[in-house]
Amino acid sequence: MSPRHLTFRIFRYNPDTPKHPPSIQSYELQEETGMTLFIVLNKIREEQDPSLKFDFVCRAGICGSCGMLINGRPTLACKTLTRDLPAEISLMPLPVFKLLGDLSVDTGMWFRDVSLRTEAWVHTGKTFNPNEQEERMDNETALNIYEVERCIECGCCIGGCATANIKPDFIGAAGVNRVSRFMIDPRDERDEQEYFEVVGSEDGIFGCVGLMACDDNCPIGIPLQGQLAYVRRKMAVAGWKR
């Protein structure tokens, strides 16, 4: 079978030159064996258009830099093989995040803001004693924390969320999932009312309308539906007692 001829329709916009309105530019390419979108975009930039902006760091699905809308679906470009896609492929940047240009968005600022607002760190009154033995955690708890801590903050759950698209302060699945990690962690001494303060509102868990695009699109398969429901039930109990 001869290699396919692929057409990429890529979103182009540079916020620094707002006179040029956003447009879609087409690029043609021959498909190669085992071709990922990481290879495609670098090939286009090297051979056809050095001005094309996009982000990649690890090209192995770990760093979370290359989240984008591939034929509309939010996912990681480095993990996406062209053979799983039709011959015409549309690439758009993730919505919600600040657009830096073309396919490149700034997820870092967004995640930093959410981390600060949800106080995403272990709250403890204990002072650290370096000579003491480490406190033990049972294996199941550790595994539960690890399961949700796998989040690479690529932002696919946020870009795919209709609520996040219209409510700028909504912390989305990534934010709720991050808080759930501390709820599971016995080292965090916050009580449920303190958690309610940071996620028991429309900007937090009660802003979620349950579209589950986050759960359907998470590139690393974190069980977001379960985490959202877990936090929702916990916060409902806290709200009830309030």
Binding site: G160, S201, G210, A213, R232
Partner: protein, 211 residues
């Protein structure tokens, strides 16, 4: 934190509204399904339908049901209203978003909002008619003979769709349910209730002038 937000902090208003939305929604699903079973009593004959209607009127259950519906629908509308994107730009964003990501549960949410808004008007008309005319098989048969047949078919389809999607979303948001199997179960229930409603309408239509 800004001044206006610091001054108007409401610690549990969002939680309460969410609970009102969920509880009223669940109650309305229960009401709708019971309602469809009651209407379906025409399958057992005109006598059965009229006796059930008579029983409801005699023990003032009809009044209770009407008051219940007005209060619950009112609470539900009040609570879900905040979910509907109100600004023109937000409307454009959500429709464009649904078209872009091609995600079925996102589409069903938009249809949920559309069917809900349409139903609000139809439900008001429906309740008015029942309150003023009462319930018996002849009244229903006469009504179905007119243009009202279309009204009932549309209301049936909208209500069953809205209830089914709403129940799905409530269970998905709160529970451990497996989404795929829940979808299957709810689809079967929805098809059955729509079929029951259509058969009831057809029976009233064929009873026609014989009453």
């Amino acid at each position: 934190m800004q001044l206006q937000k610091a001054l108007t902090r409401t610690s549990k208003a969002d939680f309460i509204t969410e609970m009102v939305q969920t509880v009223s929604g669940l109650l309305l699903v229960g009401f709708l399904w019971t309602h469809m079973l009651f209407v379906g009593s025409i399958l057992l004959g005109v006598e059965a339908f009229n006796r059930l209607a008579g029983f409801m009127e005699q023990f003032r259950l009809l009044d209770v049901a009407v008051v219940f519906v007005i209060l619950t629908v009112g609470a539900h509308v009040g609570a879900v209203f905040r979910r509907i994107p109100s600004r023109w730009q937000e409307q454009k964003i959500v429709w464009k978003h649904a078209r872009t990501i091609k995600h079925s549960d996102t589409w069903s949410w938009l249809f949920q909002a559309v069917t809900g808004s349409a139903m609000l008007i139809l439900v008001i008309i429906h309740v008015f008619i029942v309150v003023y005319a009462g319930i018996n098989a002849k009244l229903s048969a006469d009504r179905v003979q007119s243009w009202m047949l279309g009204f009932y078919i549309v209301l049936l389809l909208l209500a069953e769709y809205h209830a089914s999607v709403g129940l799905y979303r409530a269970l998905v948001k709160w529970g451990y349910v497996k989404r795929r199997s829940l979808k299957k179960v709810l689809s079967v229930i929805t098809v059955c209730t729509i079929a029951l409603g259509l058969v009831s309408l057809w029976l009233f239509l064929s009873l026609g002038d014989s009453l």
